[in-house]
């Protein structure tokens, strides 16, 4: 598949990255090359094959017990105000 520069812009926006125009050209070429190499998968007969999302065999659940943790969020926060993480103005867009 061909990666267009608008595809790239879309993906960069989804991933919340800031990438200068000059670097985009380089990325576009490199990514296209990588995507081309994915053609190796097109040779496989995958009809009727179930995906393997994980090789983990067990399912571990935890009991419903609550406890208090020794973590002080204000110590790791880039910007802390009163009792919460401060974030800059959120433009009125949907979560």
């Amino acid at each position: 598949m061909t990666l267009t520069s608008s595809d790239l812009d879309h993906v960069i926006e989804l991933a919340r990255l800031d990438i200068p125009e000059t670097e985009k050209t380089l990325y576009l070429a490199q990514l296209q090359k990588i995507l081309d190499s994915m053609a190796a998968l097109d040779k496989l007969d995958l009809s009727g094959v179930e995906p393997t999302f994980s090789t983990s065999q067990s399912v571990n659940l935890r009991p419903d017990i609550d406890r208090v943790f020794d973590v002080t969020p204000s110590e790791i926060a880039p910007l802390w105000e009163e009792n919460g993480f401060q974030v800059p103005k959120i433009l009125d867009e949907e979560a």
Partner: protein
């Protein structure tokens, strides 16, 4: 004092036990080596000088009391910087976490502490474990102790270089597509990637969650078995951690390997261009043969499509795993922004290096609307084939044997503008992570003064067989006893 750093951890531990050596002496010597070697090797991002010495005193007191201690008590160990240690920086060699101090310990760190191992520092790596050379560290590259113009491999390059240079006796790395085995091979060490689920990932900063495993990098197979015993086991904090029974990995090291059968992927062998690597593999097979192991070429296609599969699955998972680095709760935050959207983009734009961005973009693309089926889902189906191909072989063979890497350690910058070539250097190691299998790399010779590695791949949860065969191989060879000679001059030994 004798050169403890060229000895195995188990050899040192026996001298600690009979008090011929003190922990303090061992730790001091390692710290000395770090002081002298680091300006050139640059294996570490952080060094715990005072804490290590204090911990050494404590363990010495325990030894003095004569109480029985775990086999590796008092041994200095280096920790890859993507494993959280309470009160210590955990940077993942990224600008985005440059000043992040972890408020909690990874399960593996707690286990090491319970076994009285002594962390001496956090090691350099490719940023967020993305890379095969440690050149992707945001801070500086680590040099290969065997040849400082070469990379140490990656992403656990710092962990491997530290042990190879005698700046640690043991180290811990993480392996998502070869990140323990490849640097171990490049640095002439033993690197073990356990079965997925064997070692808790709690506190390991995720690269690709379904592929990541923590494992030991050591000088000997015996040390690897002991260190694996120390760090593995079910953990209620990791839903993917396995409750499979844990054998004593060290107990079966000396079992006879007579009658074992191993398979060698023919097509992969043919693909490799480096004659010395091929020859070292054949020689290794001869050694095993002399122990009564039979081998034959086998047909397996997984090596042909595993890299493509991996470079969809791993970046896809990574793209989500790295979303939490958003400048809101911890880590780097861009300054002078007007709104949240700018804060996100600039924080992440400034905080991530080029390879990380490349993979986030690739992974986001592979998951995005309209491409999920064509890339992500297809790759996960291909992964099923990888798993099945190996399962099929394990019905007949005890292990599959390959060269760990298709090339010798390469020069800095060799793959700088060709990420794809870099990706292909993991061709032997990647399928193992996709299938969740255990594999070990052991030193199997030198070419042009650079180490080469032999990879043994095993059935799920059958690390014992791999360690057994590898240990028997190591008992008959001395590649692992060799020490980089130019370093001896550096240290004035």
């Amino acid at each position: 004092m004798s050169k403890t750093y060229v000895q195995s951890a188990i050899q040192i531990a026996s001298q600690l036990k009979n008090r011929q050596l003190t922990v303090k002496a061992v730790v001091s010597q390692v710290l000395d080596r770090i002081r002298i070697g680091e300006p050139r090797i640059k294996a570490y991002l952080d060094i715990f000088n005072d804490e290590a010495l204090a911990a050494a005193d404590q363990v010495d007191r325990l030894y003095d009391k004569g109480d029985p201690l775990p086999p590796l008590a008092g041994i200095p160990i280096a920790i890859k910087d993507n494993i959280c240690m309470k009160g210590k920086k955990t940077t993942c060699a990224s600008k985005i976490l440059e000043n992040f101090v972890s408020p909690y310990d990874a399960t593996v760190i707690k286990k090491l502490a319970a076994h009285h191992l002594i962390p001496v520092g956090k090691t350099n790596m490719d940023e967020f474990a993305m890379g095969s050379s440690t050149e992707n560290s945001a801070f500086f590259p680590t040099r290969n102790p065997w040849d400082e113009s070469c990379v140490p491999g990656g992403s656990s390059g710092g962990s491997a270089a530290a042990v190879a240079a005698g700046e640690a006796i043991l180290s811990i790395g993480s392996d998502t597509g070869g990140s323990i085995r490849q640097p171990a091979s490049f640095c002439g060490l033993v690197g073990m990637k356990p079965t997925y689920g064997r070692v808790s990932r709690f506190g390991l900063v995720a690269f690709a969650s379904s592929l990541d495993q923590i494992g030991p990098i050591t000088r000997t197979v015996e040390d690897s078995a002991h260190l694996l015993n120390a760090i593995c086991g079910y953990d209620s904090l990791d839903a993917t951690s396995s409750d499979q029974a844990i054998p004593d990995f060290a107990a079966s090291l000396n079992n006879p390997i007579q009658g074992r059968k191993v398979g060698v992927p023919r097509h992969l062998f043919d693909l490799i261009e480096n004659a010395a690597i091929k020859e070292s593999l054949v020689n290794a097979l001869d050694v095993l043969k002399s122990d009564g192991v039979t081998w034959e070429f086998v047909d397996i296609n997984a090596f042909d499509y595993a890299v493509a599969t991996y470079y969809i699955v791993a970046p896809a998972e990574a793209s989500a795993n790295l979303s939490r680095f958003d400048g809101v709760r911890y880590g780097h935050r861009a300054q002078g922004v007007e709104n949240l959207a700018q804060m996100y983009k600039q924080t992440r734009g400034q905080g991530f290096g080029p390879e990380v961005k490349r993979r986030i973009i690739l992974g986001t693309y592979a998951l995005s609307s309209g491409y999920y089926e064509a890339y992500y889902l297809k790759a996960q189906k291909a992964r099923t084939l990888v798993k099945e191909e190996f399962n099929h072989l394990f019905a007949k063979y005890d292990a599959i044997v390959t060269p760990t890497t298709p090339t010798l350690p390469f020069k800095f910058g060799e793959h700088a503008n060709n990420p794809l070539a870099m990706y292909l250097s993991d061709i032997s190691t990647i399928p193992i992570n996709l299938a969740g299998l255990p594999a070990i790399s052991v030193p199997c010779g030198f070419s042009e003064g650079l180490p080469m590695g032999l990879q043994l791949i095993g059935k799920p949860y059958d690390e014992s067989t791999l360690l057994n065969i590898a240990h028997q191989y190591q008992s008959q060879t001395n590649h692992h006893l060799t020490f980089p000679s130019q370093l001896e001059a550096l240290y004035g030994v």
